[in-house]
Amino acid sequence: MKKYLLVLLWQCLILFMGSIGVFATEEIPALGLSGEPYPLVNTPTQIMISHASYPDLKRFEVVVTYRANSSTSYQETLPAPNEDGYVAWTPKEAGIAILKATAPGIDAKDPVSIEKNVSVRFGTFPATGMLIFALASLILFGGLVLMIYNNTKPAITNED
């Protein structure tokens, strides 16, 4: 009986060992920021590349796209990452930037590519932007309020 129990235990152990392989998740290739999630414009930060199966992180090329999907979009290529996958980056412009790290494929496979969007903070109150906001609000909402106010007065008929 003990022998059978031992065999059963052994089978369970094997099943358990096998299930570890099933449930263990492979590390997902990722781009991240070593500092705060919303970096500040003109303030240095570090981009971190992690890729468990890629042997040489130094081979990645990191390109930042500023103002993506706009008519004034432009790109900046960052220096090569160090062997731990860290790249120094000083955001040139506030807004939503796209970080893209690309490396040549291993054994003539497709290139490896990782992408991440980052919101770069303005930090200071953008005076020109807020002036435009205030003026546009004044014209649109001020105009609407004025028109509605004028139309609450009794009507005057103009006869030509």
Binding site: R67, A136, L140, M147, N150, N158
Partner: protein
């Protein structure tokens, strides 16, 4: 012109303003304006936008409302009054373009309805398995959208949305007024709630900075000016005869200058706020905007909502609210788009509204169903995926982008060069608190036609380089569909307009 017994009248001025503003405020105001501003230099876009509003938007709005008020007829009859059958032909052509837009707009609303159903649960799952495409799985909300449009349920939703539109329209303008009195305040409430949520998100306020901080370098590009003038035309629903039809139900002594200013400003205020609501959220979740109503409505903004903090219930609530907002805005616009040809047909054939509605419903449902067809023609999802979405994209390019501008251009030419804009100005000034200055004549006769002609010609020149849609990766469909869609819009529109122009006459009515 005398009144036909079938014509109704707005119950109140405020009701008319709400209905007209409801017509102007559509999906584009909520999702497109902010992304378009971002595309063209963010804060720098507001200068050309405001110039376009007062140089083109308000004058053409006065023209359309003035025309409706003067003749108390829909667009074809109004343009007939200006320049006989030649004018009437262009009126019908504008309405033909508008009806094509109505068909795909209702298909678009059927997808909004499908997404609304999804917002109660499956839309927020991380990914969606796709069976109709060669792509096995796709991240949501994109995956859910393509899964939905590759099924037959949107065809059922098309019938439902048409039924809602016809139910509103069948009782005439009083019902349209009643519905807009409910829809419009709700839309403002929802957009204010979205702003409050957007600004209170982590770094949400920075999204406001992003939307308004100018990139003045963009202003040197002629595209930004083209973008601003086109945006104003599209956002105010000009050139489709919708405003003329609505104004035709006003008393003759209505103040069209004030009405035009209030409707235009209300529309622009709404999209100004919607831009803030959307950008605060996009910045907080680092989502790049895209100047496309479809992408923003179904992919970009729902992606932002899916990231909302507070758990699945909060995500569901905001998702449902967003799609309800789109439905309200969409239906208040589609109602006006359906009403424009109905009022024109009532004018022309002197038949009751109830007799025209079955015909409009039949043709409309059939057309909208074509835009909701789930047949997959792009299995790799490299372009538009289904046949319906491809047709929508191609017809939108011609009927909306060109149709509106051609409509506006012909209105200005017929009024400015044939009828005389001073006559309309004199009529409008009789009943307005603010008198229209002489500059209105100059704008209608020279400035606006020149701007619209420039946009049209420069866009048409692009077509000679690459015919729109011919480079889509949709196999053999790419050789057939783009040309077919152009023919449906230009050829079909011209033929129908010609038939309707030659059939019957307004002469007796005008003489009387």
């Amino acid at each position: 012109m005398t009144d036909t017994p079938q014509r109704g009248q707005w119950n109140s001025r405020i009701g008319f303003i709400m209905a007209a503003a409801g017509s102007a405020i559509g999906l584009g105001n909520i999702v497109f304006f902010g992304a378009n501003a971002y595309k063209y230099g963010a804060g720098a876009f507001y200068l050309p936008y405001l110039i376009a509003l007062f140089v083109v938007g308000v004058p053409v709005m006065i023209l359309e409302l003035g025309l409706g008020g003067l003749t108390r007829r829909a667009l074809p009859a109004s343009l007939h009054y200006l320049e006989g059958k030649f004018g009437e032909f262009w009126g019908w052509f504008s309405l033909a373009s508008a009806f094509l837009v109505t068909m795909y707009y209702i298909a678009l609303l059927s997808w909004v309805f499908g997404m609304l159903i999804g917002a109660f649960g499956p839309l927020w799952a991380p990914e969606q398995a796709l069976t109709a495409f060669s792509v096995d799985k796709l991240a949501n909300p994109t995956g859910y959208f393509f899964h939905m449009i590759s099924g037959w349920s949107p065809l059922l939703f098309v019938v439902l949305i048409w039924a809602v539109n016809l139910w509103i329209i069948v009782k005439g303008v009083s019902q349209i007024e009643f519905i807009n009195r409910i829809f419009l305040p709700l839309m403002w409430l929802f957009i204010l709630l979205l702003i409050v949520r957007g600004i209170t998100l982590p770094q949400g306020l920075e999204g406001l900075y992003l939307l308004f901080t100018p990139d003045f370098g963009a202003m040197k590009d002629i595209e930004i000016w083209k973008g601003a003038f086109s945006q104003i035309f599209f956002t105010l629903s000009l050139g489709f005869g919708v405003m003329t039809a609505y104004a035709s139900y006003l008393p003759k002594d209505a103040d069209q200058v004030s009405n035009s200013l209030i409707i235009s400003l209300m529309n622009c205020c709404f999209e100004f706020l919607a831009g803030i609501a959307i950008f605060t959220m996009l910045f907080s979740f680092s989502i790049v905007p895209k100047a496309s109503s479809l992408s923003m409505s179904f992919f970009v903004i729902p992606q932002g909502i899916a990231n909302m903090p507070g758990g699945p219930l909060v995500v569901k609530c905001f998702g449902i609210m967003f799609f309800v907002l789109l439905l309200l805005a969409g239906i208040s616009s589609s109602v006006s788009l359906v009403e424009a040809p109905i009022s024109a047909l009532i004018d022309k054939f002197k038949v009751p509204r109830r007799k025209i509605i079955p015909f409009i419903a039949g043709v409309g449902i059939l057309g909208s169903s074509a835009f909701a067809l789930p047949t997959v023609i792009d299995p790799g999802l490299n372009a538009t995926g289904t046949l319906g979405l491809t047709l929508l994209d191609l017809i939108d390019h011609w009927a909306f982008s060109y149709g509106l501008l051609i409509g506006g251009l012909t209105e200005c030419i017929l009024l400015g060069w044939f009828f005389g804009s001073h006559k309309l100005r004199a009529h409008v000034n009789k009943h307005s608190r603010m008198r229209l200055p002489v500059i209105f004549d100059l704008l209608v006769k020279y400035v606006i036609p020149a701007i619209l002609l420039f946009i049209l010609v420069s866009s048409a020149l692009q077509e000679f380089k690459v015919f729109y849609g011919s480079d889509y990766p949709i196999g053999q469909w790419a050789t057939l569909l783009p040309a077919l869609c152009f023919l449906i819009w230009a050829g079909g529109g011209a033929l129908i307009s010609l038939v309707l122009t030659l059939k019957g006459s307004y002469e007796e009515e005008i003489t009387s």
